[in-house]
């Protein structure tokens, strides 16, 4: 047994990890320059939503992509974040920063409570349960008088400030906030996927029984993934409430949101670091465009369109768009070696 054979791959592993991190920092820095070039309000709006859903889908990807527990009910966590933040601000004067943190923790606890029964379900049954639970949540909020019931909650207008996270005219600060949120979710994913937990999740996704035989407590792994995923989803929800400054049940807990969190990851490549962002970059502007042409969400036609798109991608390209990159990089490597 030679030491070189053992240590050389470790150093190259560390080097490739560092390279990934540097590339990410460059990408974040490049995105941060966009507002210098874009002043149009509509475009800025679309960019903010794109980054928000990149962050949300990145959070969804932790549970759905890496751990393989395909949730189609993340609108529930989004809603918990949005409602917690709105209620704390409007009724208690607690600024959005505190509201988002509270919403995130509450959401993680709810995910654990729901995971306890749901993680005993397998595959499609789990996904169906998440849809049903999120719809029940939506129904409850509709009838929740304290939370404004069907009328929702209107945020009071205040002068622009980072402290209250309210910006009425200039939306650029929101852009930087969601960029930060996206960067944090990316970095958290980056840190965890190459740790014990990340490997446990992937093993659980591929073969839970084999994982268990290698010392992985499958149930705990799923619970951990769910809690982290729900935490960041709720922070996104809290931000969204501050951003639109008015929420009602349909505008934050509609099934549409659950889809919009899952689809970018599926399109871009589940269980990959850049998949959700690439998917969001394609889907969200498209969703916004179809929405402004078709008018509102009422018809649901937009959902049909990107549902079809995702179906085509997952049939022809199961690893998503990032799968194409991965494969061509491998080919290039093979060529370089030959």
């Amino acid at each position: 047994m030679s030491d070189i054979a053992v240590t050389a791959p470790i150093t190259s592993f560390v080097a490739s990890r560092r390279r990934q991190l540097v590339i990410a920092l460059i990408v974040f820095a490049a995105i941060a320059l966009i507002p210098r070039a874009v002043s149009d309000v509509y475009t800025m709006n679309v960019l903010i939503l794109t980054l928000l859903f990149a962050a949300l889908s990145q959070s969804w990807n932790i549970l759905g992509g890496y751990c393989g527990q395909v949730s189609l009910g993340h609108a529930l966590y989004f809603g918990i974040g949005a409602y917690a933040t709105s209620i704390l601000f409007v009724k208690f004067g607690i600024v959005a920063w505190g509201g988002m943190l509270f919403g995130g923790i509450l959401s993680a606890l709810v995910a654990l409570a729901l995971g306890y029964p749901c993680f005993r379900l397998k595959g499609h049954y789990f996904s169906i349960a998440t849809i049903v639970i999120a719809e029940i949540g939506l129904l409850l909020v509709h009838n929740w008088d304290y939370g404004g019931a069907a009328l929702g909650i209107q945020w009071p207008f205040n002068p622009d400030s980072w402290w209250t996270l309210q910006f009425a005219r200039n939306k650029v600060p929101y852009f930087y906030f969601v960029l930060g949120l996206f960067a944090v979710t990316w970095l958290v994913t980056y840190a965890i996927v190459e740790s014990r937990w990340g490997y446990w999740w992937r093993a659980v996704k591929d073969d839970p029984d084999a994982a268990e035989s290698l010392g992985v407590t499958v149930f705990n792994s799923k619970m951990g993934a769910a809690a982290i995923s729900a935490f960041f989803t709720a922070i996104g929800g809290g931000f969204y409430a501050a951003f639109v400054s008015y929420i009602d049940p349909e505008s934050v807990m509609h099934f549409r949101f659950s889809l919009l969190m899952a689809l970018p990851a599926v399109l871009g490549g589940v269980g990959s670091l850049w998949g959700p962002a690439v998917g969001a970059l394609i889907l969200i502007p498209m969703a916004e465009l179809t929405r402004s042409y078709l008018g509102g969400t009422g018809s649901g036609l937009d959902l049909v369109i990107y549902g079809l798109l995702v179906m085509v991608v997952s049939l022809t390209q199961p690893e998503g768009i990032m799968g194409i990159f991965k494969r061509s990089a491998k080919k290039a490597d093979a060529k370089a070696e030959a």
Binding site: M1, I10, A203, D209, A210, S213, G215, V218
Partner: protein
């Protein structure tokens, strides 16, 4: 080799509906030995592995490991205690690379990434898969997948290694290499129980053999004695040609 037992099965039974896959099995595995677990198709060998490794609990009976009652403990706990197993049908993590597969196992003893990865690399080197470290689990040939299963199990640094038909379906040369590997593993002090159909391959390798038939222990003893046992020959007739 001492006669100090590492596994004791006492009247272990497992039923699947009306089917009794393991029927009141009494079996002892001695520390440091290679024990062959043989028997025709459907004899209950894999079921017994599943019970010892904790994939599911026995319907009745008691299993001791290393002086501790482990009946009904979950598989992950048993892995931490020192039981590792391979599957009859290899179950690699196909979205993970070979070294990542093995690292999953190494995390039981080495919670930190770099140490776990180093351990995994050392084990891959040991089983002769180092050159495939970066390949996807799904890219391996069936014999390589078997080696990966063994590597993954070894990365958990087990005291007891349960090998379910790791030599089946290999070419004679591959099987010989496999036998060498198993000997090498035993020399490091790991106790091995191996299920195998093909008696010719296992008999020279094992210290003792236990024969299962229809869920019961049919015979037990030195390999040379077991293959001459009348009951064993009777049980194997008809199945032997299929298996060989």
């Amino acid at each position: 080799m001492s006669s100090d037992p590492i596994v004791i099965c006492e009247k272990v039974s497992r039923r699947f509906g009306g089917l009794v896959a393991n029927d009141s099995i009494d079996m002892t595995v001695r520390r440091g030995e290679i024990l062959g677990l043989i028997g025709p198709n459907g004899a209950g060998k894999s079921t017994l592995f599943n019970l010892i490794a904790g994939s599911f609990p026995p319907s009745s009976g008691k299993i001791m490991f290393d002086g501790q009652d482990i009946t009904g403990l979950p598989a992950a706990k048993l892995c931490a205690l020192g039981i590792a197993r391979t599957y009859q049908v290899p179950r690699s993590f196909d979205s993970m690379s070979v070294i990542e597969n093995v690292t999953v196992g190494a995390f039981v003893r080495y919670p930190r990434m770099l140490q776990a990865r180093e351990k995994a690399m050392a084990v891959l080197d040991y089983v002769g898969l180092a050159s495939k470290a970066d390949a996807a689990g799904s890219e391996l040939t069936p014999p390589q997948k078997r080696r990966l299963e063994v590597a993954r199990a070894l990365a958990t640094e087990p005291k007891l290694l349960l090998l379910d038909e790791v030599l089946t379906g290999l070419t004679p040369a591959e099987a010989r290499a496999g036998v060498e590997l198993i000997r090498k593993i035993r020399e490091t002090g790991v106790t091995i129980v191996m299920v195998e159909h093909v008696m010719e391959v296992v008999m020279p390798l094992v210290d003792r053999a236990v024969v299962l038939h229809l869920g019961k222990v049919l015979a037990e003893g030195a390999p040379t004695a077991v293959v001459r046992d009348e009951k064993v020959i009777a049980a194997y007739l008809g199945d032997r040609h299929r298996a060989a």
